[in-house]
Symmetry: C2
C-alpha cells in the first residue's frame, strides 16, 4: 500500500477561506510539504498553520528568490524524491498550495514528477482572482462575457493585444510590471474600469481604483478590469 499525494489549495490567505476538506486533510496529514523562501516564513504554511498537526513531519521546499520566480528544476527533483520516499513507505503527503494548485501554481512541478507513479488527489481552492473580486466588490464576469486571465510578465505588445480583445480581464502577478501594465491600460482608455488589489483577504489588504494605486506593487497583487455587461456593474 503506497500513500496518496494530496495537492491542497489553501485559498488566498485568510485561513477561514480554506475549504473544509483542505482543513480535514491537513489536520490528518503526517507529512506536510510546502514552498518556502530561503529567508523568512512560508506563506503557504502560515495560511494552514492552525491545521497542521504538531507531530507532523514538515518538508519545506526552499525556493531561492529570483526576479523571474521560476526556480531551477533541481529544487523540485529533490522535493519529489523526498516526497516519493514517504509515499513508497505508505504515508500520505499533503502538499500545501497558495490559492488553487492548478491555477498558476508551482504544484505543477511536483505533479509532473509524481502523478504518473503515485496515487494523487487535487483539492481545489479559492483562487486569488475571485478573492480579489470579492474584496473589490466588483463582479468579475457576467452572463456570456469572455474573461481573459493574463500574467503581467508577458510582453507588452501581447498584453496590449489581449486586453484590447477582452471584455473582462484579470492581470495576475503585477509586482514589478505595474508601470508597464498601467501604461497599456491607459493607452486603451481602460483605467476607469480598472481596480488594483493587493494581498486580498489578509490584514494588509489594499483595494483602490488603479488611478490611485501606489507606484510599486507586491508580487501578490492584481488588476481587475470590469466587463461591459450592464448586469455586472455594481
Amino acid at each position: 500500500m503506497t500513500g496518496t499525494l494530496y495537492g491542497i489549495g489553501l485559498g488566498p490567505g485568510d485561513p477561514e477561506l480554506m475549504t473544509r476538506k483542505a482543513h480535514r486533510l491537513i489536520s490528518a496529514a503526517q507529512v506536510v510539504a510546502y514552498p518556502a523562501p530561503d529567508t523568512g516564513d512560508s506563506f503557504a504554511r502560515s495560511i494552514a498553520a492552525d491545521a497542521i498537526n504538531e507531530n507532523a513531519l514538515e518538508i519545506p521546499i526552499v525556493i531561492p528568490m529570483r526576479v523571474e520566480r521560476f526556480p531551477a528544476q533541481s529544487v523540485y527533483d529533490e522535493a519529489a524524491a523526498a516526497i516519493s520516499a514517504h509515499l513508497e513507505e505508505g504515508t500520505d503527503v499533503a502538499v500545501l498550495c497558495e490559492g488553487d494548485p492548478f491555477f498558476y501554481g508551482s504544484f505543477m512541478y511536483l505533479f509532473g514528477r509524481l502523478a504518473e507513479s503515485h496515487r494523487t488527489e487535487i483539492v481545489p481552492g479559492v483562487t486569488s482572482m475571485t478573492a480579489c473580486a470579492a474584496m473589490a466588490a466588483r463582479p468579475l464576469c457576467a452572463r456570456n462575457e469572455v474573461l481573459s486571465v493574463v500574467p503581467a510578465p508577458i510582453d507588452e505588445v501581447l498584453l496590449r493585444d489581449r486586453l484590447q480583445a477582452s471584455g473582462a480581464a484579470v492581470i495576475m502577478k503585477v509586482g514589478r510590471h505595474l508601470a508597464k501594465v498601467r501604461r497599456v491600460i491607459a493607452d486603451l482608455n481602460m483605467t476607469d474600469r480598472a481596480m488594483y488589489v493587493a494581498h486580498a483577504s489578509l490584514p494588509q489588504q489594499a483595494v483602490v481604483p488603479l488611478a490611485e494605486a501606489p507606484e510599486t506593487a507586491p508580487y501578490f497583487s492584481m488588476i481587475l478590469i470590469g466587463g461591459t455587461d450592464p448586469y455586472a456593474k455594481s
Copy 2:
C-alpha cells in the same frame, strides 16, 4: 442598525469544498436566500443543507427554467425587496451562490439592486473551473500562460476566434452548445488537448477526453483545453 447582506460562494457541489467561512456564516444565518427552479430542488440549497439552521427563514428565489437561463428581472426585483425588508429590520441575510458569487453568478442581480444601499460582504468560493481541472487531473494554466474563459453560448465565429488566440482555455456552460463547441475545437485541431467534465465533485461526476464525451451535455459541464507550456503537462 441594519443587517449585512452576505453573498456566499458554496463551491462546485461537494459540501466539503465549502470554505470554513461560508459554513460559519450559513450556520449562524437567521435568513437564507437561494436560487431555486420552479420544479425540483435547489442545487445551492443542497450544497449547504447540512449547515442551514433548522430555525432559519428560507427565501427561495424561484427562477423559471428557460432555454437561455437569463430570467426576467422582475424575479430579482421581488427577491431584492424581500431581502431588503429583513436587512432594514437589522437581520443579516445569507444568499447562497453556487461556485463563486462574482464568477458568472446570478448573485450579481441582487448585488446590483442592494449593494449601494446596504452593507454587503462577498465570500469567495471555489469555482467550477478549478474544480473541473482538479477532477480531470489537468493543470489549468502554468507560469506566464494566458487563460481564456469562454461561455459556450457565444457566437460560433467569436468562439473560434477566441480559442484560436488562446493557449489554455475553459469553455463554460456547455450544455446544448456541445455540438457547436466540438466542431470549433475539431476545426482548430485542439481535440487532443480537450477534456470534458460534468458535475465536478458530485457523485454523478463525469471526466473524459472530449473525443469520448457523450452526445448531449448537462448545463453544469465544461471543456478544458490545456495550454502548451511544457510544465503544465501531466
